[in-house]
Symmetry: C2
Subunit: 173 residues, 2 copies
């Protein structure tokens, strides 16, 4: 399946979660076994030459295929979670979103220093979430070898915020 065929599985939801926003609903893509499989394979194929050890996915939508990408690559999976969701010592970051603000945490011993880390989220919008995740990974001594998304909203220019990194998005709007 090409990126265009996968894009055809995504549903546009106007004025959700706020008026004026077109939400791209990936539920039909995830529920279609062939589209899910191809989405994971496309992202893993891009990431493989970067030899990641760990995939970090952001709560909650970055968990949808994060571990499947990790499984396909033979990596471990580390969830970046909302504040208060992870036990033991954590580090955290706040950041601005396309709509609102948010925060994420990693456990302080989430991976070994020097690990090669692939950042994953479902959508690259303003880039704020991914930049915050990369900052947390680097604070723990990880090396961000790439960032991979299912969708990129080109008109929000998120790439400008993460221009220091190697970025891949499967589907563009």
């Amino acid at each position: 399946m090409s990126a265009d065929e996968l894009k055809a599985k995504i549903r546009d939801v106007p004025d959700w979660p706020e008026k004026g926003v077109i939400f791209r609903d990936i539920m039909p893509l995830l529920a279609d076994h062939e589209a899910l499989n191809e989405t994971i394979d496309h992202i893993a194929a891009w990431a493989k030459p970067k030899k990641p050890d760990i995939v970090v996915g952001g709560e909650a939508r970055g968990f949808f295929i994060g571990s499947a990408v990790a499984y396909s690559l033979g990596c471990g999976f580390v969830p970046a979670r909302r504040p208060g969701k992870l036990p033991l010592a954590t580090i955290g970051a706040e950041y601005a979103l396309e709509y609102g603000t948010n925060a994420l945490e990693l456990q302080a011993d989430a991976f070994e220093g020097g690990s090669r880390v692939l950042i994953h989220d479902d959508v690259l919008a303003t880039g704020g979430t991914s930049k915050a995740m990369a900052g947390l990974v680097e604070q723990l001594g990880g090396d961000v070898v790439g960032m991979a998304f299912i969708i990129e909203l080109d008109f929000l220019n998120g790439r400008e915020q993460i221009s220091d990194y190697d970025v891949f998005s499967l589907i563009h709007y």
Copy 2:
């Protein structure tokens, strides 16, 4: 890796998230590429003969490996989400937890009627979450062919609540 070796990757956190609860922290298991791989393979091997079409995972911890199990089985993945997180028409259920209450929703067109569905969550505790997910799946005309967990807290007798279903847990406490 045997179930005992995988269990050794899980960390006990006493008095979290509430006093008197021992939280079983699976983060070190997920972050270890070999342990993650084996956990997914064990669950997929159990589920495969049941020929599921869809894996349903519960927010948020049931997303950690839900799509990886789906990928391994060649299934689609459907996230059961917290209220207000899914666009378009949904159905919902409330249920009691080991600590507190909660609610989950599925999109009304999440899968086709007659689909064979594997329910997945990280932990089988009281069984309330899984029973609620199964009820939602059945409301949409799905056939629950099994329920698979990473961890089962045997002393909470969750299996009694879901005795109508075929249940697998990789690691027991």
